[in-house]
Symmetry: C2
Subunit: 360 residues, 2 copies
């Protein structure tokens, strides 16, 4: 029934099997295979042949027990199909691979309970670090549990890194890499203001999440800095999804809100909003200007191409693993790095009155 000539070994071959077949001790097998210790040619040959015949590969768990297995970094995202997360995850994987780490990935679907459960699982795996991306909620309870998780990880010689999330507090042993939501938001709002827009509709995420709150803050400050009033009725909350963008836009139209520009909380929402605008016969940017936030590839696929805030997706991920890998050398216990953002101007904004914003 078996196809190999080695015998009906219906389980994974162990070092013992190889030793037996090669007629040497397990220590010799280990040495030959590791290649780091001098061995005789005949022994080498026998072991190599036996190993290949048995398709032997060392058991990573046994190795891990001796604390010399490959290091693993874990990343936890709400959902890999969301472009922002996919790009951050990609950055993590790339950097992890370059650092010789393997990468464990999990998704939570936004379920906070699941986040903790999977996090615990990862800790059991003895991961070098767990990188948490996105979706943090503003709740004291949550913050407390997170802090506790960070401490547990820390006590295990592991580490928590928050990626694209705000810090937990000075007493929590975490590293954080984020980008400046408020500044980016301030910049894009100012861009709209400079183009002559005064009534800017802001479609955004859920009020109990950090990201939308910080982006709103930038929007408000820009308005204030330029001396224009903030109108609460112009900000609509729902969620960072395409469908939320569409629903909110529909609502704004239905309520006949007065605005000349739309600042969508992210590019996905902008896509949803654009669709509704088009169906309503409202032209972008001729009738209303539209901007997003993220600069995912989608932004250039929309028509018109979307003016938005560029976020360093991949770099966020890469930095997260670097902070962990370099930690032993420099030991910056609680580092906090903030990456920059910048506006990328495309075709969805027009100066009120005629001239395109690009020429402002």
């Amino acid at each position: 029934m078996t196809s190999t000539s080695a015998g009906p070994l219906n389980r994974r071959a162990t070092i013992k099997d190889v030793a037996a077949l090669a007629g040497v001790s397990i220590a010799t097998v280990s040495r030959v295979l590791s290649g780091k210790v001098p061995t005789t040619a005949p022994a080498h040959a026998k072991v190599t042949r036996a190993a290949k015949e048995l398709r032997y590969v060392a058991n990573a768990h046994a190795r891990a027990l001796l604390s010399q297995g490959p290091r693993t970094v874990a990343i936890l995202v709400p959902d890999v199909t969301v472009p922002f997360f996919a790009h951050v995850a990609h950055g993590v994987e790339q950097q992890a691979a370059e650092e010789g780490r393997i990468c464990l990935i999990g998704s939570t679907n936004g379920d906070l309970e699941k986040e903790l459960v999977i996090g615990a699982m990862m800790r059991e795996q003895g991961v070098e670090a767990v990188i948490l991306v996105g979706g943090v909620v503003k709740s004291p309870t949550y913050r407390e549990r997170m802090t506790d998780f960070a401490r547990a990880l820390d006590a295990s010689g592991s580490h928590l890194v928050l990626c694209g999330r705000p810090p937990l507090g000075k007493d929590a042993p975490v590293s954080v890499v984020e980008y400046d939501n408020t500044a980016g938001s301030h910049a894009i709002t100012s861009h709209l203001l400079a183009a002559g827009h005064r009534r800017i509709l802001h479609l955004t995420g859920e009020p109990n999440h950090h990201t939308p709150v910080n982006r709103l803050e930038g929007y408000r400050r820009a308005l204030h800095d330029h001396g224009y009033p903030y109108d609460e009725d112009l900000v609509l909350w729902r969620g960072f999804t395409r469908s939320a963008g569409a629903a909110l836009m529909k609502q704004a139209l239905h309520d006949q809100l007065d605005f000349t520009a739309v600042f969508a909380g992210n590019d996905l929402m902008a896509a949803g909003a654009l669709d509704v605008l088009r169906e309503a016969g409202i032209r972008v940017p001729e009738d209303v200007s539209l901007v997003g936030f993220d600069d995912i590839p989608l932004a250039t696929d929309l028509y018109p191409k979307l003016t938005t805030v560029h976020l360093p997706h991949e770099e966020l991920g890469r930095m997260a693993v670097r902070m962990v890998v370099d930690r032993d050398e420099h030991t910056p216990v609680n580092s906090h790095v903030v990456l920059g953002t910048h506006i990328v101007r495309r075709d969805s904004v027009r100066r009120r009155g005629g001239r395109p914003a690009a020429e402002v």
Copy 2:
């Protein structure tokens, strides 16, 4: 220096630490914590307290050594940022989570060497299965190495599943879940034909990959079945990316190819092509019709919304893990399931002469 009252244990707490602190044997700790064995109330209390204080979690590797750690499934994709792969990966994760498995993910960036290396790593981890998604090349050497990998996995009590890839051959111990590329391609081509198009430009991937070749086959057959000639000059090869779609479209325009419709090998290519078409002042669908393949969310963000072939992304991933998980019960050694596809008509196709294809 330490924040807990348990003492300066600067490593992960082990069962011994808990036992010592609780004043019981390690066996008792194990039993209490597993909960499956009757224990006395006082013992239970002491152990629970000690464990919590030490933030103890069992070492997953030690457990795995006793072959009772959590099962793990591994998925290997070329690139998580490619929507198709992200959606399949999401399906895998969802199903894996539902089956109580954890999920290891790796990306190869299309590097075949890396695919084998990471695959080996996963085997060392003792994963229950490795799921390979996308990007297979048509090469005997590659096929052979893959077969060897499948055998190695099989010999270890693990399993290889090919997802969205063609089978390896009857002698290779693999399961495969795919969808019918040829049928989908045949259907969408027929759709174009029925709308009166005769000269259909086909922009596609790389000639040494299976997917584009199978899609081309459907295109050819549709042409043949409807009695129209196949013109090789109308098929342009490059890659399944946005930029390849754009480059190819540019080339077709430059070469002044004669066509009334474009069949892009996937939605990403369609996005690239659409952009070039628009810049050239060619209207879709008024001047030329355009279709894609995949039905990723992007398809509805394009303007006009893209008519395309819907692929069961998530289901592909879910089925892949089901095939492995259910394997023990039903033991269908080399199963092969083919999932269906269907056209979704949107706004990018118009009947030659005027009537929209939707009314055909």
